[in-house]
């Protein structure tokens, strides 16, 4: 009898779609990102990311700065891997100037960029745990990252915005006994990976929250221009370090881990494996560290000839590219940054559709964006 009454009472209940704002101030957005979600119950039927809260107009700033001055600003795009940003800017300008850095500089660049990749993936590992509800991995990840930042502080004097890789080479040679410290860090780091597996990777709750969630198919990944671990998570073996080597990457032996299903789990797993590969690369680069100069001969005032170039590298978040046009002046005529975070984020509007609200944060975290790079 009671059920009948409830049924009759419920018949005139109105159901309607609901708009939910995620962000701009929300810890899981890792910066200031707003995602407007349209919900039917707890299922997402449309999602629209809103970006631009951190826009600083670095492309416009570049047009009013000399080439070396722009290097300082490049640190601020992806502030978790500033070495990569320095490197891609230097590669672009070196192409225009047609100079080649010495072999030792190439090795030092590889060492720094790969250490930075580990640091950047550690931030992902830690914050992704928090996103899903595990706080402890974060403390472990930041303990390790601290050691890398200490190493960087010794070579460059800074902990976030290094400005270490310079046009034509690097800022300075390594300090005495730095190689030893780096080696002991790598040895120590290798023992941490099994720890991470017991902490998070092998955790059944974590696996339940990530497997089969936020699936990005191969076709979707390509049409959205997705690069980096997100693309490899979908099972496409594409890594600029292998496919278009720069800075003598062809000399080092390493594997390119790829996922199978393109879900959050695969994107996570690829990053964890990449850290292990980076350790291998740094070891090889330290072993084969050549003697000699760390800088090519670069004129004091840089005035590249007319021309245009596109330089790209495999940054921790994907293929980071710089497109510059030079008009034979000491300032670039046009600079465009192909920011991997910005382009990877585009896919969010499609892969969120059909998911539950509780999986939004898991999906967003697995794309691993840095808002400083999205908005530039």
């Amino acid at each position: 009898m009671t059920t009948e009454v409830i049924k009759i009472k419920g018949a005139d209940l109105q159901t309607e779609e609901m708009i939910l704002n995620l962000g701009p101030q929300h810890p899981s957005t890792h910066g200031v990102l707003r995602v407007i979600l349209k919900l039917d119950g707890e299922v997402i039927i449309a999602a629209e990311p809103e970006v631009g809260y951190l826009h600083r107009g670095t492309e416009k700033l570049a047009e009013n700065r000399t080439y070396p001055q722009m290097l300082v600003i490049s640190d601020r795009w992806d502030y978790l891997s500033a070495m990569s940003n320095n490197l891609v800017w230097c590669l672009a300008v070196e192409k225009l100037l047609q100079i080649k850095p010495p072999e030792k500089a190439d090795h030092l660049r590889v060492i720094m960029v790969e250490l930075n990749r580990i640091a950047s993936h550690l931030v992902f590992f830690g914050t992704y745990g928090i996103d899903i509800g595990a706080y402890t991995p974060f403390l472990h990840a930041f303990r390790e990252r601290e050691k890398i930042l200490d190493l960087f502080e010794e070579v460059s004097g800074a902990r976030m915005t290094y400005n270490y890789i310079r046009i034509g080479g690097v800022m300075a040679d390594l300090p005495a006994d730095w190689v030893g410290k780096c080696r002991s860090f790598l040895e120590w780091m290798k023992d941490r990976f099994p720890e991470y597996d017991t902490l998070l990777t092998g955790n059944p709750i974590f696996q339940d929250r990530t497997k089969g969630i936020g699936v990005l198919s191969q076709a979707q990944a390509i049409t959205y221009g997705v690069t980096g671990p997100n693309l490899r998570g979908s099972g496409i073996n594409f890594d600029l370090r292998k496919d278009e080597p720069y800075c003598s990457y062809e000399k080092f032996k390493f594997d390119v881990p790829t996922g199978a299903n393109g879900d959050c789990w695969d994107r996570y797993w690829v990053r964890i494996q990449e850290m292990k590969e980076s350790v291998k690369i740094v070891e090889q680069a330290l072993d084969g560290l050549p003697a000699g100069e760390t800088n090519a001969k670069v004129p004091r005032i840089l005035r590249p000839p007319m021309g245009e170039t596109y330089a790209q590298i495999e940054a921790p978040r994907g293929s980071l590219g710089i497109y510059t046009i030079s008009d034979a002046n000491d300032k670039p005529y046009r600079v465009h940054v192909r920011a991997p975070s910005f382009i990877n984020l585009t896919m969010l509007q499609e892969i969120l559709v059909g998911q539950k609200v509780s999986d939004v944060v898991a999906t967003l975290g697995s794309i691993d964006i840095v808002l400083g790079e999205v908005d530039r």
Binding site: L96, G225, F238, P305, G307, Y310, H336, I343
Partner: protein, 170 residues
């Protein structure tokens, strides 16, 4: 494929395109300026009216197979002739070749067809070009500002953009 063979393949299907020659040193330029440099890739100039045909051909022809749109951007020129270029960098995952396509458009009231239907990554990148340069993309489903706020006036990346002082200056 080499740039030359890419160009000849495309040329047989779309005849309106033109290869952009590499820049040459200005006669009488001082020696310290050096030789101009441009990436050894194919640079093609295409009229905006033919861009959609060309884009579809580039994507769908099995020999070319440009399935990956790496970058969309633009550049503004005031001299010698005022114009704007919309610049596309295409890449093929299968054949691993790249090429640039440039569309020259007038500085005022310019519009080019959107390629959002072919490469979804064009969605945000075209919005960014619109936001920064004011070039409209016909057929784009959500053409509005992306990095600047909605009430912003002017096109900040244009060479003749003048900043109007506001309460943040001082």
């Amino acid at each position: 494929m080499t740039p030359a063979s890419l160009f000849s393949t495309i040329r047989t299907h779309i005849s309106d395109i033109r290869e952009i020659p590499a820049p040459e040193a200005v006669a009488g330029a001082p020696a310290h300026e050096g030789k101009p440099y441009r990436d050894p890739l194919l640079f093609v100039d295409c009229p905006a009216s033919k861009w959609l045909d060309l884009a579809r051909f580039l994507k769908e022809d099995p020999q070319l197979d440009f399935d990956f749109l790496l970058m969309v951007t633009a550049a503004d020129y005031l001299a010698p002739a005022p114009k704007m270029d919309v610049i596309y960098l295409l890449f093929s995952m299968k054949h691993r070749h790249k090429m640039f396509v440039k569309l020259s458009v007038p500085r005022e009231g310019a519009s080019v067809p959107s390629v959002m239907g072919l490469w979804k990554t064009a969605d945000w990148q075209e919005r960014e070009v619109y936001d920064m340069y004011g070039i409209r993309f016909d057929g784009h489903l959500n053409l509005k500002r992306i990095l600047m706020w909605d009430g912003f006036t002017g096109w900040p990346m244009r060479k003749d953009y003048v900043h109007i002082p506001d309460r943040y200056d001082d």
